[in-house]
């Protein structure tokens, strides 16, 4: 017979908002909707991935823009190669992330 104790997952004591780290502007760190709200950033994305404009106009996809990234959507429009996404990130990194975007 094997000898082992069962693991337990006790509840935590109380909720405190976690400490938030700054996040660089990129196609993976920000949701598509967040980038859409930054015109300069969105222009970069559309320049590299023109098909994304049609994609996010779709009703179902639109609902997912808050929780899906450009990198996620790129899978559906054939623009998900590491090189393509890195090119977008390189241009995004030159843009200033708006104050308060990272909570």
């Amino acid at each position: 017979m094997i000898v082992m104790d069962a693991p337990t997952y006790p509840p935590a004591a109380a909720f405190e908002p976690p400490v938030v780290a700054p996040r660089p502007l990129s196609v993976r760190n920000y949701s598509a909707a967040e980038l859409m709200r930054m015109p300069a950033a969105w222009a970069v994305v559309v320049k590299h991935l023109p098909g994304i404009k049609m994609m996010v106009a779709n009703e179902q996809a639109k609902a997912m823009t808050e929780t899906m990234t450009v990198a996620d959507f790129a899978v559906f429009i054939g623009g998900d190669s590491p090189a393509a996404l890195a090119a977008i990130d390189a241009e995004l990194s030159a843009l200033q992330a708006p104050a308060g975007a990272a909570r």
């Binding site: 017979m1 094997i2 000898v3 082992m4 104790d5 069962a6 693991p7 337990t8 997952y9 006790p10 509840p11 935590a12 004591a13 109380a14 909720f15 405190e16 908002p17 976690p18 400490v19 938030v20 780290a21 700054p22 996040r23 993976r28 760190n29 920000y30 949701s31 967040e34 609902a63 997912m64 808050e66 929780t67 899906m68 990234t69 996620d72 899978v75 559906f76 429009i77 054939g78 998900d80 990272a102 909570r103």
Partner: protein, 838 residues
Amino acid sequence: MNRSPFLHPDRRQLLLGTAGAAGLVLAGPGPVAAAGPVAALKVGRGQPFDLGWRFQRGEGTGFEAPGFDDGAWRRVDLPHDWSIEDLPPAPGRDPADLKGPFDRKAEGKTATGFAVGGEGWYRKRFHLASAPPGRVEVLFEGVYMNSEVWLNGHRLGAHANGYTPFAYDLTPYLSPTGENVLAVRVRNLGRNSRWYSGSGIYRHVWLDVLPEAARIQRWGVGVVTQALGDAGARIEIGTRLDDLSPGLTIVSRVRDDHGRIVWEATAPAVADLRQTLTLGRPRLWSPEAPNLYVLETELRRGATVLDRTETPFGVRIVAFDAARGMTLNGAPIKLRGGCIHHDNGLLGAAAYDAAEARKVALLKARGYNALRPSHNLFSPAFLAACDRQGVMVIEETFDTWRKPKVPQDYSIAFDADWKTDLAAIVLSVRNHPSVVMYSIGNEIPGRNSPEGVELQWRLANEVHRLDPTRPVTAAINSFPGPLVTPSTETARAGAGGVTDHAAAVFLDVVGYNYKLADYEADHAQAPQRVFFGTESLPADVFAIWDLTDRSPWLVGDFVWTAMDYLGEAGIGGSNLAPATMNKTMAGLMPTGWPWVNAFCGDIDLIGNRKAPAFARDVVWGLSPLEIAVQRPPPEGKVDVPRHWGWPDELQSWTWPGAEGKPLTVRVYTSGDRVELRLNGVAVATKRVTAADLKRVELQVPYAPGVLEAVAFRGGGEIGRRQLVTTGAPAAVRLRPERPTGGAGRGDVSFVAVEILDAQGRIVPDLARDVRLSIAGPAELAGFGSANPLAVGGFGAAVAQTWNGRALAVLRGAGRPGRVRLQALSPGLAPGSADVLLA
């Protein structure tokens, strides 16, 4: 069909033979097998309450009144799903827009598979002849959705969630005359689901009639394996009791799977009783050996049993860590998983026990050792089948939190109901050994926002409070948002100060939807994280299992989906596109009417293997070799799999019209070389390298006859498969899946319908009308094919085969006997078969 002594034993229904209960035994027979307007009830917990309902599809006023004349309403026995029933003819509508239960103008469109919801009412009369007992409570296992319940005109309450169980205390409103009427209003309105939900009281209803108010709390018994050791298994039993009065005792008794008592104890009844026992030489539960025990709990006053429950459980310990991955009873194990929705194909959402068990058995036979019921609680019968058959379960709770996915979904009720619904889920499933993890949500919108992170904590923490024995996960399709660091006070155990993604920070195990490309990078970034694929694309099966098998931190994968389902119509399969079209765009070409079936499963809607299953059989080692042939596309077209799809390939070498043309033969093999022989002559051979990931393609000019594939490894033959050109259809064959079945109204039996050639081979790729007749104590509960397109209803005696097959589902009439089926199809020899119902 629950013949196991653990599940629906006779004693579950009866507390008779005890002095205190005897005075409450009611006049007339016990629960009857045939539908009737009035069912007499005895004293006991969990009495079946499925028979003899009246049903009206449509809204109205006064339906809850006890004096309302429901004589014109249809008689139904539960489980019942009105959305799978044929729609009535609609004057002025193009008949081509209505196919059985499917309506081209259905509000849910492809999401619900063009099925129609609406409002429906149920009424049931029942008789309690004696003075009111101590407590009478009705339990609904699941009603889709937004139900309201009245007893004798008194409104008992409302329940929004379509998948969680709920109960009402009937005691205050019972009629002194003994004649009672229960009325249930069900509203499946608007766009409230992203898949086929079904409508109505589609799961069982049970009635408790107890002699005193004191009782074992509903879902109040919990059994936990705390440790395994040389002395045996240390088990803790928790028992919660309601409305205690002095002089009560609790008797707890554990029986093994032979019914032998292996432990028994008696204790004074207290509100929250804790007992610990040691089971010497326990028979552990695992997918290979799903051993079960049963805990009998009796609440007694002296020798009188006031209440009694039976709790099946398994002795097992599941653990996770990034170094060893997942272990079950100390041994590493991978979750060979599949996602499924809850419908039973031709039966709609109706959760017949035998249909639920069949679904589990079909998937277990294909190598699945784990299922993810998506995205909600499944029926108790389904979970019981997983326990018995040895299939692990990710118990998913919600598809939405506060933010909707479709306008009228559960998000409307979430804030008011989530805590109650979560408790019902966790407490009702916690004793199932099959359940290894809870998922607090699927692709939840807003999960990465500050509010979402707090809600993630609240749900995960509530699950841990209710059941601290299992980890919490969630299915996450993207990780936008910041990295965050929780305090020790807030973090899950041992994770205080550990930085993680906002969307995953409070999860014990992280579920990834369609993120194969990120697995290794995420592991490098967060090596402490244990994760698995909560959803994956069928086409990724080769790459996923190549990585999973060599990565301890990656504990498994759940393909979307293991079995076809109604709704999300046409996300699988393939498109015929112009050869010049961009392949990505071609794969995204939308479907629409008359697609009604998602068609992304390994197994089709009626239970037969589809092409992805051939590949999976090889990847998981069930078979060394499988072959399939691409259906030749028309000139100028190419076959492009959809995002969740698979090429249109069949295990067929019957392609009239393609003579001389090269056909694509796909070979799935664990070998290192494959050879194809056509009519005994070698026509192609290919090496299979590691980079091929067990899949190669070869071209063979088509000629009728025998196509044979032979797989080799290290020079030795490891497998051989043949595809044979079939002749013209000659006969119908009826093939019962089992020679015997249950005779009750809740029992269903399955009969395969197949079109054969003169040599007795199934003719593939064939659509033929078949008329079925039944003689004996059964009715047709469903008859149809796995065709993903709507071609008709599932309730008629005539159906069309698809790929040469159909399925008939018989429902018992409530009395035993032999049922003879006959099948006729023009120009074919008829088929017949008998099923003995007992």
